[in-house]
Symmetry: C2
Subunit: 314 residues, 2 copies
């Protein structure tokens, strides 16, 4: 067994002493005014370009504030894609900056497609593309995230290319199994003839897809997304998926508590990371003592409070 | 009932006399050499920027060759995302160019997320984002595609924001129901207690999600992706989803024939569009009489042959 993404992630969790993943989901409307005003003073740039500059500076502030206390960040690409190619530039820069600060990165993209197309996504997010040979060779670096979230609706051949790229570059994936939103029950909680639920079947599939990709610490490079908002299902999945790291969204703003996420961890208090986006990004809204200008300090304080909250139950 | 995206699409199909959708899935390795050489002569540009210039010129050639004979094109965003923000610029330019030639556009992105994030994707692909008010208002235009493909694994609240944006801008969505790939059976063909299959349940849900969005022609702005490679399932879905337009991938390179796609249409020979990507994009590989330099003419000839092939059965 070689060292894999799961080992890197668990090492980082141990080093920082907390399994917190900070989501970077920048909503332009909610950014501190001073950042927007500063960005829009650049008269040589288009409004779109100014807007993403404000977002990038916001992200850097959050990253600087939490880099020494958390192991991993997770920028949600939808909030960047809304700004077209300018937004994707900002996404690339955000990933690079987080990496430069020693953080692992998860691209929350929920990508999926048939095999040949899934390969293109896998290269885009985790790997690289090389064209030509010798002196004429061109390397396209890709987003170079440490992991990417993927949707399993298309089955194995849409997942396989992601695992292949991940293996090649010591990276990982997180397969959506039981998502944190209320409507996740529409499909995921349907019950089969034998009494099992779709989320259990997808959990079992995900665990089996990762069975050949287990690292030194006993965890696979194939992880699973399991929402904090569904603790009963999460508990069941933890039993069904002994080799799978859980990425747990839904803590905080979506209603998940520390007690709820406890069941996602193994007996050593490992095997899961807990994401918080809005509760950290916009902590300043609920901490008037910092104000908008102190958004980064507020984010740090919120992260430390979450660390304590999780430590209480782990 | 007001006119909706389905009406626009069916009008375009009738006007062109064929339900062909041309996929624009540019694989850089497979592009004609003369296009790559020309692009890489631009010494002032980065290799990545030269590469996407070659792709854009390739796409324009295909679009020019088919614009008068087909109603709609479908660029697959994975093949652009692989080039990062340069690739997304190329995606935007491809959509704009197709629109300028009178074509409808489907962004094949298979996007999905929880409600709040799905809203950001919906705005990115179909709508626009406005910040501020009055003179300070900034409008971010988005990709402005006529429709986008979406993945239903997260259920209704991940689909609803796309429908809301689509309604606002006379646009549409296509929900993945039964995909064309072999592994689609992993989840989609699981059988429930009452004997029904997951693809049938998702088909029923998709039809119900579109029930309030029906246009003058009897079809909803909520369409479905149903693969040509599964004619038995497609026939069943056509019965279950009377108000849903099918986007049918898998014809040609993936093995689907005209006979296979026939079941996707209604009694008037409408209600579906059939996609072909590789068989048209790289038609020149199988038509030595055109050569690489004649890739666009080869694409036109392949499209006309497909039109005849489909007309035979409709």
């Amino acid at each position: 067994m070689a060292k894999n993404f799961a080992d890197k992630l668990l090492e980082a969790v141990k080093k920082k002493g907390t399994p917190i993943c900070v989501g970077l989901d920048p909503n332009f409307e909610k950014l501190p005014k001073f950042l927007k005003e500063k960005a829009f003073q650049q008269s040589d740039k288009s409004p779109m370009s100014c807007a993403v500059d404000a977002i990038l500076e916001f992200n850097k502030g959050i990253i600087d504030a939490v880099a020494d206390i958390v192991p991993v960040v997770k920028p949600q690409i939808a909030y960047y894609e809304i700004f077209g190619h300018n937004g994707i530039w900002c996404y690339e820069e955000t990933l690079k900056y987080a990496k430069s600060k020693g953080l692992l990165t998860i691209a929350d993209a929920k990508r999926n497609d048939i095999g040949s197309t899934a390969s293109a996504y896998a290269q885009a997010f985790l790997g690289e593309v090389a064209f030509g040979e010798g002196e004429a060779e061109i390397i396209i670096p890709g987003f170079d995230a440490d992991a990417v979230t993927v949707n399993p609706y298309l089955g194995w051949d849409g997942i396989k290319p992601f695992i292949e790229e991940a293996r090649k570059y010591e990276k990982g994936i997180f397969v959506l199994v039981k998502t944190s939103n209320p409507s996740s029950l529409d499909l995921q909680d349907l019950q089969m003839k034998d009494g099992s639920f779709i989320y259990e079947i997808m959990g079992g599939l995900t665990d089996s897809w990762g069975a050949t990709e287990i690292g030194e610490g006993g965890y696979s490079l194939v992880g699973a997304v399991v929402g904090a908002t569904h603790p009963v299902q999460a508990k069941r999945l933890r039993m069904l998926m002994p080799n799978t790291i859980f990425l747990v969204p839904g803590y905080g703003s979506q209603g998940g508590t520390a007690e709820d996420v406890k069941v996602c961890f193994d007996k050593d208090g490992l095997g899961a990371i807990v994401n918080n986006s809005r509760g950290i990004n916009y902590a300043f809204e609920k901490m008037p003592e910092f104000g908008e200008n102190g958004y980064a300090e507020a984010a740090r304080k919120a992260t430390l409070a979450m660390k304590e909250d999780l430590a209480r139950v782990l």
